[in-house]
Structure formats: structure tokens, C-alpha cells
């Protein structure tokens, strides 16, 4: 099959769905920019503790960050495999990506539970409210990304994602990169810049 039959010619030459996911990502940038701004505005404004420096476990979060960063590489390799019709490469690296996503969510669930037991809640102070809101919405995005990638994985197992349909996967991959990039901002701004 030629690509023309699958993607009717568009004025820009970019497939509609690819342009749409980029547009959506552009809009999402403002969503996270607002949440990060709220966090920064309220930095150091908590009336009572616990305060950030008492809570954060940098090594754990660094490990989570590294996993998320690597998952971006893995998803590129998986997409490459998908486009080449190399099933093993496609599904293998995709499985690795999903695994990294799971580890990251696990890290966050552990962190949130730990903070909760230490007495940090959304109601406790502004740090709790703005921290849980920002990282919680990021975590929700990761979770949706994992569900999306698992769906692609199952479809891939059934052989429904041939090279000609790689765009289905590429959209999820673009979204995954975006979620990753947002974390690359959150990690230094929230965790590292708090001495």
C-alpha cells in the first residue's frame, strides 16, 4: 500500500492526526506552565510544615527521572522497529517503555504514600497543595500514556500495527516524549531548586 491512499493529501503534507497531536501538546504546555507557575508562586509561602527539604528523597526521584528519560529512548527504538516492520524490535522496546512507565508510577505512588504518612497532605499547607496538584497531574498524564502504549502493544501483538499504520503509534510516542519533557522541567524546578 502506498502512503497516499492511507493519508489523503493534506495542504501542509503533515497528516491530520500528527498535526493534531502537536497542536494538543502545544496547548498542554500552557496547562503545565500554569501549574508550575502556581508551584513557584507558592514556594516558601507555606505557613506550617512539613517543608520541601524535609520531605524530598532525591536519589529515589533521580532514579525515576532516569527511567523516564530512558523510556523516551526506548520508545524511539520501538517506533523505529514498527516503521521497519521489525516486530521483535517494535514490541520488545515498547515493552521496555511500558515497564519504565510502570516503575515511574510506582515511584510516585510510593512517594505520595510516604509523604502522606509523614503528615504532608493537600490540605496541610501550600507546599502540599501545589506539589500534589502539579506532580499528580503529571502522574495522571503518565498513567494515560501507559494505558495508550499498552493498547498499542496489544494491537501490535495481534499484528494490527504494520509499518503503514505506524502513525497510530507515533502519536502515542509524541505524547510520551511530551510527558517526559514536562518531567525534565519539574524535576529541577521542584526537587533540585529547594535549598
Amino acid at each position: 500500500m502506498d502512503a497516499h491512499a492511507l493519508h489523503p493529501a493534506t495542504s501542509t503534507g503533515i497528516p491530520n492526526r500528527k498535526l493534531a497531536i502537536w497542536t494538543f501538546i502545544g496547548s498542554e504546555c500552557l496547562f503545565f506552565a500554569s501549574l508550575i507557575s502556581v508551584y513557584l508562586v507558592y514556594k516558601g509561602k507555606s505557613l506550617v510544615g512539613p517543608y520541601p527539604h524535609e520531605m524530598f528523597e532525591i536519589p529515589l526521584v533521580t532514579a525515576g527521572t532516569a527511567l523516564l528519560l530512558f523510556s523516551s529512548l526506548f520508545v524511539v527504538l520501538a517506533l523505529n522497529g514498527c516503521e521497519q516492520g521489525n516486530r521483535k524490535k517494535f514490541l520488545g522496546w515498547l515493552a521496555m517503555t511500558i515497564l519504565c512507565g510502570f516503575f515511574f508510577i510506582g515511584m510516585q505512588v510510593y512517594e505520595f504514600t510516604h509523604f502522606y504518612h509523614e503528615g504532608l497532605t493537600m490540605q496541610k499547607n501550600l507546599f502540599g497543595a501545589s506539589f500534589f496538584t502539579l506532580t499528580g497531574f503529571h502522574g495522571t498524564h503518565v498513567t494515560i500514556g501507559v494505558i495508550w502504549l499498552i493498547t498499542i502493544f496489544i494491537e501490535g501483538l495481534k499484528g494490527h500495527v504494520p509499518p503503514a499504520k505506524a502513525l497510530n503509534f507515533e502519536m502515542a510516542a509524541l505524547y510520551w516524549h511530551f510527558v517526559d519533557v514536562v518531567w525534565i522541567v519539574i524535576f529541577p524546578v521542584v526537587y533540585l531548586m529547594n535549598s
Binding site: F31, Q123, T133
Partner: protein, 614 residues
């Protein structure tokens, strides 16, 4: 699948007209969705208008007790919220839906099912907001929902929950539509329809979508934080917990000012289509119009704090935001002069759409001038929270947006429904609207400068406000009556059975090259465009008016198939917010889980539906 349905239709000679409730629920046709947007928005417009009339009836005389102060708060909050989010935005969306594909020579939008989803989410959001009246808990904290007036402490009822969640639902609809039309305009243009050849309405709509995409996420975050404060007891906007009420104002107006241009840019676009056609000459200064639109949108993101001069931001911030605001007068002035330049020396045809377009220019200039007055911070400190501000934004929103939308309605009615609206009744509508509008809102400048505060349910006698307020109420009744004339006109045209020709106004753009109303597939063959004002160009090359286009069989044209999953996904969105309202119920988490399941189930079925994208 889709092909077999088509073959069957082809055998019958023509695409069968699909009718009945189910066909409207499952429709993905941009024209039907446009009509749904228009009909729903017009009903919400009448509800918002009724709220306005109740407000005016209450203010007709001093110390009136026609409505209670509590109900008055609900009335002005819901009037503002309704008119902005449920009337002007979706009325613009009606024109986006129906006409953007026609104007760029496409068969549908880029994502027909997403388009249906946007509409249903919008409708459910509107119903959700208005259902608050049934619980005697309509939002009552103003359309701007200032913290901490909107906090649980000062608004303990469900009122502001309905507001914060209703607007989140509407935001989802706007964002989905924003992505859809952004991609449609960039990607679905007919061959030869370069960006710089696009009709001005398409250009202004394109800029509007950009504003939606970049400003709605900000209000979404603000509303989420407010919702967390109210439902889960966080302290984002609670000063006792360290929260800063100014943060709300900044987040709100970073959205709120671009929102103003979201309301007016489509109006600019409509006027830029109507004026050339009824002046019989091309739009003057096309390129300048495009760039001034872009410049307005760009500046629109840098002026939000002019809504906050009275909060004490300090002289530097006040000066910067004053100057940035004054700058906006430049591209707006360019537009006004280009509209005048378009009519200059033209052979002007005084049809109803032209009346409203010229009325728009006059009224919008008045609103623009009082806007420049506000941009000076010291003057604004005198005017803020008075009826002078109410006069200003009604001159731009009603005198601007509504006049332009009405002009568009008269202009495009024959194309949408295949009937001409009556010229005589149209002109009666125009004069009643113009007179009623000015009687209502012009005196507000005066009472405002004399110090009458807005958002207060009554005023004492003896301050000199009585006679002007009585005049305003009479004006409002005339204004309300003018829309009854419009409804009468619609009924008359529908009953008349006189079919409109394809090109009643000798139009410049592609929608006039196809029958009225258009067939489901819009264009039997996708047109090729050779310049601006594509249809005028075609007629010029032909050496005169083109023959009436025939209705043809659409056999072989692939159209997107109907789907009910967008509707169900929208139901899921609505259920999610209803469940959130009951989060502290013992079954709250179950409700939320059930709603999310409906949403995910619908989205998965939507994604895996065998669907022909057309």
C-alpha cells in the same frame, strides 16, 4: 461498511437525507453540527437575555424589591457566564462549523467525530450550568469568580461548584474544537487555497483557535485549583492558609483577556466577508487585516493586568499594562479604516446583512473608544466597578459581536437553510435593535461616570440615577422585542417555501458556488483556487454570473460514517463532573469510577470503530 452504504445510496441516485432524532445524535456532518450549535446557542442566548431583562426590571426604579439581592447575584453571574460561554462563543462556533469547510473548499472538518464530541460536551456543560437554577443554587459570584468571594467560606452553597465545574466542561469542548479547527484550516484547504488567499473569516477564525488553545488551559488550571479548594479543602485561594487571592485574578485574566478577542475576532471575520460583497469590491488592505488580527492576538496575551489596576500592582506594572493596552488600539484602528476603505467608492447595496455590518462598525468604534479610556490606569481607577465599564463591554460585545453575528445570520441564512429571510422584517429588526441597544447602554456611560456601581441589586432615590435607569429598562425591552421580530422572520421564511438560489448576494467565496442548502458532501468535485475571492474570480473568468449549480448524485464520494460514541463520551464527561459533585457521598468514589469507566469505554470504542474519515 461505509462503502456498501454509499453504493446503496448511489443506486438510489442521491445521498438520502438522513432525518430523525437518532441521525442528529450520531451526526458527524459539520453542517448539521453547526446547526445544532446555532440552535442550542440561540436558546441559551434567549435565557441570558431573559436574565438581562429581569436585571433591568429590578433596576427600573430605586429601592426596588422585584428580585432579592441573592437572586440578583445569581442573575448577573449567569447572565455574564451564559452570554460569553453559551451564546457568543457557540454562535461563532456555528459559523466555524458550517462555513470554514465550505470557505476553504473541504468536504468536512479534519476530525468529524471530535467535532460531534465538542458539540455534545458544550451542550451538556450548558445544561449542567443552567440546571443549578433547579436547585436554587445558580452561580452567584460573578462571571470572573473572584477569590476569595468564590471560596467555601463566602460561597458555602453548591452555586460556585456548578460554576467551576460547568466552565471546566465547556473548556473541554472549546479545546477539542480548537484542535479540530486549527488542523482543519491548516490541512484541509482545497488546491490553490494558500494561506494568504483564505477568506478573512477563515483567517480570523484561525487566530481565534490559537487563542483558545493557548488561553483555555490557564483557566482550566485556575478552575481546578478553585475546585480543589472547595471540594477537598486545599488553601490555594484561602488567605488564612497562606493562599493569595491575587493569583486567581492573574490566572483568570491571563485567560480572560484573550477570551475577549475569542469573542470579537470571529465577528471581525464575518464583517470582513459581508462588507466586500455588499460594496461590490474586494476587501481593502487584505494583508494588513491579516497581520493586524495576528498583532491583536499577540498583544492580547500581554495586557491581562489592565483588568486589575485597582488591586494595587504598583506604578511600573500599571504603566506597562496601560501602554500595552493602548497599543491594541493601533491594529484595531487599522481594521476599522480598512472596513471603511472597503465601502469607500463601492456600489453599496443596502441589504439587511449590510445594515448590521455598518451598525457593527459604528457601535464597535464607540466601545473601542471607551476601551482606550480604560487603558489609562488613573482614569480606570475612577471608572472601575461602575456602569461605565458595563457600557463599554456591552458596546464591544453586543454592539460588536452580536451585531456581527446577526449580520452573519442574515448573510448566510439562505445558504444554511435554503430560504431567504425577509428584507422588510430584517430592517425592522435592525432599527429596533440599534435603537434599543443605544437606549439601554448609552445612558450607562453617564450613570457610571456619576458613580453608579455595578453588581449592586438596587440604588437609593435622589442620586439622579432614576430617569436614566428607566430609559435603560425601556431600551432593554425594545432590544428584547427586536429578537422576537427576528424569530418571526425565521418562522415566516421557513413557512414561505421560497427556495433561495445558490448565490443570492453575488458572493465572493466558495460557499456560494454550491446549492442552498449544500448537499452532504459539499462539493461534487473539490474546487481549485486561483486567487483571493475565489468565486468572484471564477465568475470573472466566465464573463458573468454562473448557471445555478445542479444537485447531483454523490455516488462514489466517501463521507465519514455516523457514530454515537462521541455522544456517549460526552455523557461520560458530564457524569464525571456530576460524580465529583457527590464526591463526599458514601458512594462518591464508586460514582467517579463508574463515570471514568463510561468515558474510557466510549473513547476505546470510538478509537476502534471502523470509521471512514472521508
Amino acid at each position: 461498511m461505509a462503502t456498501s452504504v454509499l453504493d446503496h445510496a448511489g443506486a438510489a441516485g442521491i445521498h438520502p437525507e438522513k432525518t430523525g432524532l437518532w441521525s442528529w445524535i450520531t451526526t458527524v456532518d459539520h453542517k448539521k453540527i453547526g446547526i445544532l450549535y446555532g440552535a442550542s446557542a440561540f436558546i441559551f442566548f434567549l435565557i441570558g437575555g431573559l436574565e438581562a431583562l429581569l436585571i433591568r426590571w429590578q433596576l427600573m426604579k430605586p429601592d426596588n424589591n422585584f428580585v432579592s439581592p441573592e437572586f440578583y447575584n445569581q442573575l448577573f453571574t449567569m447572565h455574564g457566564t451564559t452570554m460569553i460561554f453559551l451564546a457568543v462563543m457557540p454562535l461563532s462556533a456555528m459559523f466555524f462549523n458550517f462555513f470554514i469547510p465550505l470557505l476553504i473548499g473541504a468536504r468536512d472538518v479534519a476530525f468529524p467525530r471530535l467535532n460531534a464530541f465538542s458539540y455534545w460536551v458544550f451542550l451538556f456543560g450548558g445544561l449542567f450550568l443552567n440546571s443549578s437554577f433547579l436547585f436554587n443554587a445558580a452561580p452567584n459570584g460573578g462571571w470572573f469568580g473572584y477569590a476569595n468571594l468564590s471560596s467555601k467560606q463566602y460561597s458555602p452553597g453548591l452555586n460556585m461548584d456548578f460554576w467551576s465545574m460547568g466552565l471546566q466542561i465547556l473548556g473541554i469542548a472549546s479545546l477539542a474544537a480548537g484542535v479540530n479547527f486549527f488542523v482543519t484550516i491548516l490541512n484541509m484547504r482545497a488546491p490553490g487555497m494558500k494561506l494568504i488567499r483564505m477568506p478573512m473569516f477563515v483567517w480570523m477564525s484561525f487566530i481565534t483557535q490559537l487563542l483558545v488553545l493557548l488561553s483555555f488551559p490557564v483557566i482550566t488550571v485556575a478552575l481546578i485549583l478553585l475546585m480543589f479548594d472547595r471540594l477537598f479543602g486545599t488553601n490555594f485561594f484561602v488567605p488564612l492558609g497562606g493562599g493569595d487571592t491575587m493569583l486567581w485574578q492573574h490566572l483568570f485574566w491571563v485567560f480572560g483577556h484573550p477570551e475577549v478577542y475569542i469573542l470579537i475576532l470571529p465577528a471581525f471575520g464575518i464583517i470582513s466577508e459581508v462588507l466586500p460583497v455588499f460594496s461590490r469590491k474586494p476587501l481593502f488592505g487584505y494583508t494588513a487585516m491579516v497581520f493586524s488580527g495576528c498583532f491583536i492576538a499577540f498583544l492580547g496575551f500581554g495586557v491581562w493586568s489592565h483588568h486589575m489596576f485597582s488591586t494595587g500592582m504598583g506604578p511600573i506594572a500599571d504603566s506597562v499594562f496601560s501602554l500595552a493596552t493602548m497599543l491594541i488600539a493601533i491594529p484595531t484602528g487599522v481594521k476599522v479604516f480598512n472596513w471603511l476603505g472597503t465601502t469607500w467608492g463601492g456600489s453599496i447595496q443596502m441589504k439587511t446583512p449590510m445594515y448590521f455590518a455598518l451598525g457593527f462598525i459604528a457601535m464597535f468604534i464607540m466601545g473601542g473608544l471607551s476601551g482606550v479610556m480604560h487603558s489609562a490606569a488613573p482614569a480606570d481607577l475612577q471608572q472601575t466597578d461602575t456602569y461605565f465599564v458595563v457600557a463599554h463591554f456591552h458596546y464591544v460585545l453586543f454592539g460588536g459581536s452580536i451585531f456581527a453575528l446577526t449580520s452573519g445570520a442574515y448573510y448566510w441564512w439562505p445558504k444554511m437553510f435554503g430560504h431567504m429571510l425577509d428584507e422588510g422584517l430584517g430592517k425592522v429588526h435592525f432599527w429596533l435593535m440599534l435603537i434599543g441597544f443605544n437606549l439601554t447602554f448609552f445612558p450607562m456611560h453617564i450613570v457610571g461616570l456619576e458613580g453608579m456601581p455595578r453588581r449592586v441589586y438596587t440604588y437609593p432615590a435622589g442620586l439622579g440615577f432614576e430617569s436614566l435607569n428607566r430609559l435603560e429598562t425601556i431600551g432593554a425591552l425594545i432590544l428584547g422585542f427586536s429578537f422576537l421580530v427576528f424569530i418571526a422572520n425565521v418562522i415566516k421564511s421557513t413557512l414561505s417555501k421560497v427556495h433561495a438560489p445558490a448565490d443570492p448576494w453575488n458572493g465572493a467565496t466558495l460557499e456560494w458556488s454550491i446549492p442552498s442548502p449544500p448537499q452532504e458532501f459539499n462539493f461534487p468535485t473539490i474546487p481549485t483556487v486561483h486567487g483571493r475571492d475565489a468565486y468572484w474570480e471564477e465568475k470573472r473568468n466566465h464573463g458573468g454570473k454562473l448557471p445555478e449549480p445542479a444537485r447531483v448524485s454523490g455516488a462514489g464520494i466517501h463521507l465519514p460514517s455516523p457514530s454515537y460514541w462521541p455522544f456517549l463520551a460526552a455523557v461520560g464527561v458530564l457524569l464525571l463532573f456530576i460524580a465529583l459533585m457527590h464526591h463526599d457521598n458514601k458512594f462518591g468514589p464508586v460514582y467517579i469510577f463508574a463515570a471514568v469507566s463510561v468515558l474510557f469505554f466510549s473513547i476505546f470504542n470510538w478509537v476502534f470503530e471502523p470509521f471512514h474519515e472521508g
